[in-house]
Subunit: 621 residues, 2 copies
């Protein structure tokens, strides 16, 4: 049957990508349908119960700055919050939260159910409706035909999913969920480059069988960090500890002895796994000299005894899993509630995508999340938001949008994927960004919320909150710049104890904050009142303290942007550029970058090669 209502956007899949995609499309006013296997699994965390972490929290806060759900759900579901790299510079600081799975899922579902313009429908998508070359809708498992101008596919690990435990394997989308076989077959008939990746998860453990007294407790930070720019500590449920333990030589022996029945080491699994979330068998192999590896023992929630032993993801046979778990300090009596496993699934070469995440081959069809070769909830959510916006913009005939590399980690990720493709699951790191000091997690709202508002993504509540914060920052900066401390006054004396040499002349408060020995807290209330808004205060401090570095990066960006504007014509004949290596020529001809900046990010490209292109271009004119 043809469903009578027509949609602007259909999103297939209710994971992290699908959720943000559907919400974003609906927020800008597109009539949106979220089609997913099972409403009960909306927002389900397939693997570790945590959101954020290095590089990843930047994505979460960017999603948040554009009014997405992930950070807000984290504040409602988070049971342990920490700021990683807190002692390092603000560029690499990263907020990370353990989440109660049930609360997180409930928060996501409630945000979805309360979104206007968004309808949810439970059923597997089996096929796409085509109108010539373009996508025109989705056909479900029972033959319901939903029509829409744009479709966002976010099928995660489900396409042709195969679950491996030792040398046994069976079809599955993730443990307990059926895979998407028919849709995978249909997509393989289309002109996409499809390949296989794999990812894995550790066995889960019953806390009642664990001895915590021999482990190191790891509490959250105090005061408790908050994930969303709109969030507050009041929203947080009860906070709990994580624990740390270690593998040992016996663990490693057990694993080595099991490798002949490992699906990875016997070649049963063909897909490549995530380099930065390796399985424990991978780790003892790659770091053969290490005699122990850390295991973070993370609670899965407040109302369950299940634990997530972060660090021992494995697809070894279950008998080896049991033995290896029980060889770890504190786990001697451990009862496993769910075995670890690896999953292999189809992904699409992201080089077949545009920066809007629309596929190059099928207009109107967008891909987001794990199917683009990424790993992680945050990477998925960020892509989902971008794809959802652009799918909706296409249907509503508005401008498409994507952030540049100097505007957002979302921009870095998408540009990386599209320019280089990926041969292993891609995860975000701060090191992937050129302009780390500008792309901080703390200023994601300042980078993106205004743009989000223009695009229609940002609602009134967030906008009001954002404007108040920006206003408070500006007023505070002005106050700090125009408030002076004179030597030998009581205020100066307060500072002198913290300074190497006493104040020799008058300074305004802004300049004082820039000094390495002083911070906002030391200076702001010397004269007048510090700003109440803690987020504004933090921004003011960072902006003042790092202004030199920040300005330098802004200059680089300007220069880059000028280059970026240098277009590389479609018919650019790279063969003719003398001095270029054959390898680079081949890559350039294959990838056909649209601008010089894009060309500069091709793997193996050197500044010298860029100059050759510039020279050749000028000659052509």
């Amino acid at each position: 049957m043809d469903y009578p209502d027509r949609f602007d956007v259909i999103v297939i899949g209710g994971g992290h990508a699908g959720t943000e995609a559907a919400l974003a499309a609906a927020r800008i006013g597109a009539k949106t349908l979220l089609l997913t296997h099972n409403i009960e699994t909306l927002g389900q965390m397939s693997c570790n119960p945590a959101i954020g972490g290095i590089g990843k929290s930047h994505l979460v806060k960017e999603i948040d700055a554009l009014d997405g759900a992930m950070a807000r759900a984290t504040d409602r579901g988070g049971i342990q919050f920490r700021v990683l790299n807190a002692r390092k510079g603000p560029a690499v600081r990263a907020t990370r939260a353990q989440a109660d799975r049930v609360l997180y899922k409930a928060a996501v579902r409630s945000i979805l159910e309360n979104q206007v313009n968004l309808q949810i429908f439970q059923q597997a998508a089996d096929d796409l409706i085509m109108d010539g070359e373009q996508v025109a809708g989705v056909v479900t498992q029972t033959g319901i035909r939903f029509h829409a101008k744009s479709v966002v596919l976010t099928a995660g690990t489900f396409l042709g999913g195969v679950i491996h435990i030792g040398l046994d394997n069976h079809d599955g989308g993730r443990a307990g969920d059926p895979p998407s076989i028919r849709l995978a077959q249909r997509l393989r008939e289309m002109p996409f480059r499809v390949d296989r990746l794999k990812t894995g998860t550790p066995p889960r453990i019953d806390a009642r069988s664990v001895d915590f007294s021999v482990m190191e407790a790891q509490p959250g930070d105090t005061p408790t960090p908050v994930m969303s720019f709109m969030g507050s500590q009041d929203e947080h449920p009860q906070q709990v500890n994580c624990f740390i333990t270690y593998t040992n030589n016996r663990t490693h022996d057990i694993i080595r002895n099991g490798l002949d029945r490992s699906p990875m080491y016997t070649g049963v699994i063909e897909g490549i796994g995530p380099r930065y979330c390796p399985s424990i068998e991978d780790k003892i192999n790659r770091f053969a000299d290490k005699d122990r590896h850390q295991v973070f023992v993370e609670p899965e929630g407040l109302t369950t005894h299940e634990l997530y032993p972060n660090g021992i993801s494995t697809s070894l046979p279950f008998d080896v899993q049991m033995e290896l778990v029980r060889s770890i300090t504190g786990f001697e009596q451990a009862h496993i509630t769910r075995p670890g496993y690896a999953i292999e699934y189809d992904f699409f070469n992201p080089q077949d995508l545009k920066h809007t995440l629309e596929t190059r081959h099928v207009p109107g069809l967008f891909f987001a999340g794990q199917i683009n070769g990424t790993t992680g909830y945050e990477e998925a959510g960020a892509q989902g938001l971008l794809a959802g916006y652009n799918a909706a913009a296409r249907s509503l005939e508005r401008d498409s949008w994507y952030p540049r590399r100097d505007e957002a980690y979302i921009g870095v990720m998408v540009d990386d994927l599209i320019t280089h493709g990926t041969s292993e699951p891609y995860r975000m790191f701060t090191s992937r960004a050129e302009y780390r000091l500008i792309l901080r997690e703390d200023n994601a709202d300042l980078r993106l919320t205004e743009k989000g508002r223009q695009l229609g993504l940002v609602g009134d509540q967030r906008w009001a909150r954002f404007e108040a914060k920006r206003e408070a920052m500006e007023q505070e900066l002005q106050r700090l710049r125009s408030t002076w401390v004179h030597p030998a006054t009581p205020e100066a004396e307060q500072l002198d104890s913290k300074l190497k040499t006493p104040l020799g002349r008058e300074y305004n408060l802004a300049d004082l904050i820039k000094r390495p020995e002083l911070g906002y807290a030391d200076v702001a209330s010397l004269k007048g009142e510090a700003v109440e808004d803690v987020q504004a205060a933090e921004q003011v401090e960072i902006q003042l303290k790092y202004s030199g570095y920040i300005d330098r990066q802004k200059d680089e960006i300007d220069q880059m942007r000028r280059q970026e504007n240098t277009p590389l014509p479609d018919d650019f004949d790279y063969e003719q550029v003398s001095g270029l290596s054959n390898e680079l020529k081949a890559k350039l001809m294959q990838q056909r970058p649209a601008t010089l900046a894009q060309a500069s990010r091709i793997q193996g490209m050197t500044p010298a090669a860029i100059s050759l292109l510039l020279v050749y271009l000028k000659k052509r004119h």
Copy 2:
């Protein structure tokens, strides 16, 4: 691999039967493993979000009296409580609660996770381990071999499950969950009589698209009833309303026009559905003269907008579902979030079971729940408890146990199933019990808790609570019997206004309560203080008011029990009993009842036939 620990009992399946089975086995001290597809779906309600109702609440309270989980979970998850038949006699009164699915599931999971002796493991069971004729364990999907002396199978609708929507169908255990195909195949190779049944569920509706102003609101009762004997109103979450609307002639026309694409009416579905939860297409067919059917609009929870339209279960094609839903008052703009569907599944002829729910053909293998041909959470839970107890008792070499028909609805159900088998999904009704006045929901604890304590099923907390209540009842009865009201005293005057004729002589309070015009509340505080314990007060009132009827039923039971003790020898030659119809002879020879009482419950058996058997027996001696 062989799992190193040995279990006393393995329960396959984490639905309502599996939950109670695993808990009961663990409560009496058996080392128990609960093996289920997915820990996230433990305690999931596949269909309507409600527990209890006529006949069913009796089972829930019996489970509760034996310290099972269902009633306690209902008190923690219930969002609307009512007592049905409140104006009728106590025999047919029944408590019913709407449940928030998420809260109910969370309560069940938490009870399971905190049960000592119980381990939970997530994985599909694919096969049984046999030791000769006996069961010896379970093999999972990935080849893990768990060994146990007894196994309880509670696979619900999953064995060979096929989901139908219109003429489309696909494999599934319930919407969103994979079926059990391999296990179903293996069981079909064993000497069980397997057949197909079907059941159905209505489409779910987004409350935001519903006009409640044109429906009738149905609030819960005040004061709010409680489900568990251990429960209290403090445990209840927020209470909400249900709503009532109706189908109409247009609805019925739409359905009739869709019947040529109904899997039931075109013969695609072979399994028989539940007579008392018929699909809407069944209803308009069977009650062709009715021009409307009631639809109860039930909230699925406090944090979701999904609604369960109770009364329009259907497997019609989705286009017909949409049209029929939108023809109903208040649903004109309804958005369906999940389509209705029917599911066909394997069930086993319960005549192949013993009263302990052990299978006759495979010692140590017990069956419970939907796979025995029943329908409903309560029926499943009650069987689960019984099977779990007996499986554990077998492994621990303790006595088996099952309640008689005059002790519990659980006894009625099991005896019905084993004696008559079933050709359609069996659900409980008070009319199935011969001794309704004795098997009330309010006295389930008085009937069963002491026995449960002896069996080891009832924990200290419940036992203490129960003893206190029983003690309070006895004291109160004694007080009422020994406290006298004399005519023309102030106490008598208080009563006279409620009585047709003033008190003519002295009466004790107990006798006063027996009068139809008076109740416990009118009398108890006339002199002295009424008992504080409301449950005790209720019991005292019922026992006094209905003592005549109750005593008569007790006599009947005694007589029956004497007959019950008359054994029918295994080699009884029914051919020789003259006067018996050939049909009855055939049934008797096939079913070989062990006692006269069992024989008397064979379908078609008459008192006259029983006399013939008695006469023949006496002659034989």
